[in-house]
Symmetry: C2
Subunit: 335 residues, 2 copies
DNA sequence: TTGAAAGCGTTACCAC
DNA sequence: GTGGTAACGCTTTCAA
């Protein structure tokens, strides 16, 4: 089409002609095949350098079957947790020499057409961090042997996933609050189908029960700052107030804290607040939020490892990894 | 390699054999070429459906020269502006039927090796939102005709970009503060090489000058919440305090506001605060921050348009678009 | 140690 | 309308 009077990009064939060798020799020299003379290798490398040769990864995919591309499905940006996860994933991908294709970002469901682009681009696997794949989308991936790993989500029926130990984390927070002498508890959860939220809440409630208490109120925080803020406001309007609030994610806890502050409630004196995730924002002096930090770097690393293992061997069974989070006690629960 | 006893993926050739036609016919039917009989088209489409045919976009790239892939370079996740930009880009890409390859995310410089992966994957263009490309990286792209568009950054010497009218925005904020009777100004800027920040500040200072005033103090907010917080703290410690603060980005303004709140300063009574960007967080009741909203959706759309135009015609001259932001007056500057 | 040639899946070009 | 065929850039046998 647009051939214009400009130099074409260097290819393996170009180089082979320049060097007076076969294309296969060039490939081998470039890829560091051992059984090739130092002389030719040096000559070819130099030529490649001079002509600004850049391998065509797509063509390589075609003949080798592996694309070096991973799909990434990300949750809503309004939750900083996903922004942090994105960065970890980018870092890890760079380290492994693979590329990330953004498949979806947001809280909407993943459309089937979106899932199909996973296939079109021959991704070696996909990391899913939020929305659940439609069952049709999951089928498509399974049929085409595209391994999927859920991060911070458990797969409903089958599949691989890596999560924080949400149940244990919830329990640990309950213990801390009970030990602090709190007696009246509110929970800000989420009605979404998020397995993560449910487990955190279960762990929390179970531990309270061991202490002989049950939460006195429950709100739906919609996994957002605004939802948390609304819950905090509702707590203020209630005649009888709790002395401790567990928001199942930091972003909601931040909303709760701001509502309480605007309402003139003193934290932690009148009310303690705890969250879950360990996002950077929770450490801000203004929040100083006690939370469970998810081991994000490790979670992401494990996800890539599972993916790498499965793109080499499709017969591996489903696997799930649960990593213990770290309690970070801060001012929002008192000293 | 791993051929296993499983059905191979359907390809154009597979389908052509099944339908008893030529591969080219299949391609045409699939791609909606007009000059093809309804009968054959229907037959082929049905076959494709039955066999779960998924086109191989990589192979298409090889023969058509267009990959349908755009590179994306994103700024640090700690600034919600970039998270919002990511979402806009994903939305726009979906609408246009193209895919996004994440090239980089963070505030570090873009390594040359990272830039090279743009070439390896034959991206049709790249959107750069934060870090500046090294000159070598820019050269590589230019030499290989990969069009680059800066968003929210101006290209230093040449190249395309789309920005908000930062100068006008800065001026508008100054006007608002002057009209509100403010007289002593502090600016929280950033020492980074960010053209964006400099222009905002220039516009602000120029407008102040028209009113016969100059800022009484200046801080480096490092484009982060923490930097803004530190600046706010420094303002508190100063003997003579300003009655208005301009932080050149919302994220820094949020830091300033929190520092002031912890310091017991009443906003806007004792001090007004303004930011720039229009991120969602600025609208939170706890901040209620007056700011200039960047027309992000439109900026992203324009960027894609410029990219699309240039991947079809490499001879287009550099182009720059500046879009006017919208002043959103809120409580942080008083009624 | 190197070469020749056959793919990989798709599209484009030229016939018919 | 449709078929045949040659690319596209790379890898991977199999030979030499």
């Amino acid at each position: 089409m647009e051939n214009e009077a400009s130099p074409r990009r260097a290819t393996v064939v170009t180089l082979s002609e320049l060097a007076g060798v076969a294309p296969s020799t060039v490939t081998r020299a470039l890829r560091g095949d051992t059984r090739i003379s130092e002389a030719t290798r040096a000559r070819i490398l130099k030529l490649a350098e001079q002509h600004g040769y850049a391998p065509n990864a797509l063509a390589r995919t075609l003949s080798s079957g592996r694309s070096g591309l991973y799909g990434l499905v990300l949750g809503p940006a309004s939750n900083p947790f996903y922004a942090e996860l994105l960065h970890e994933a980018v870092r890890e991908a760079k380290e492994r020499g693979v590329r990330l294709l953004i498949i979806h970002a947001g809280d909407g469901p993943i459309e089937d057409t979106t899932a199909e682009s996973l296939l079109h681009y021959q991704v070696d696997g996909c990391i899913i961090t939020s929305a659940v794949l439609s069952s049709r989308a999951a089928e498509i991936c399974a049929a085409n042997r595209v391994p999927l790993i859920m991060v911070n989500r458990v797969a409903r029926h089958h599949g691989c996933f890596v999560t924080c130990d949400n149940h244990a984390g919830g329990a640990e927070l309950a213990q801390l609050l009970l030990a602090g002498g709190r007696t009246k508890f509110a929970v800000v959860g989420t009605s979404s189908t998020s397995s993560t939220a449910v487990e955190r809440e279960d762990g929390f409630v179970a531990e309270l029960a061991r202490g002989g208490v049950a939460p006195m109120m429950h709100f739906d925080g919609h996994s957002s700052y605004e939802g948390g803020f609304a819950a905090g406001t509702a707590i203020l309007e209630n005649a009888v107030r709790p002395d401790a609030v567990f928001a199942v994610s930091d972003i909601m806890a931040m909303g709760v804290l701001d509502a309480l502050r605007l309402g003139g409630v003193s934290v932690p004196d009148q009310m303690a607040v705890v969250g879950f995730d360990g996002v950077a924002e929770a450490a801000r002096p203004i929040y100083d939020l006690t939370t469970i930090e998810q081991p994000l770097p490790l979670m992401v690393r494990r996800a890539f490892e599972m993916l790498a293992a499965r793109s080499g061997n499709h017969r591996l069974p489903d696997e799930s990894i649960s990593l213990r989070g770290r309690l970070i006690p801060r001012g929002s629960t008192g000293r």
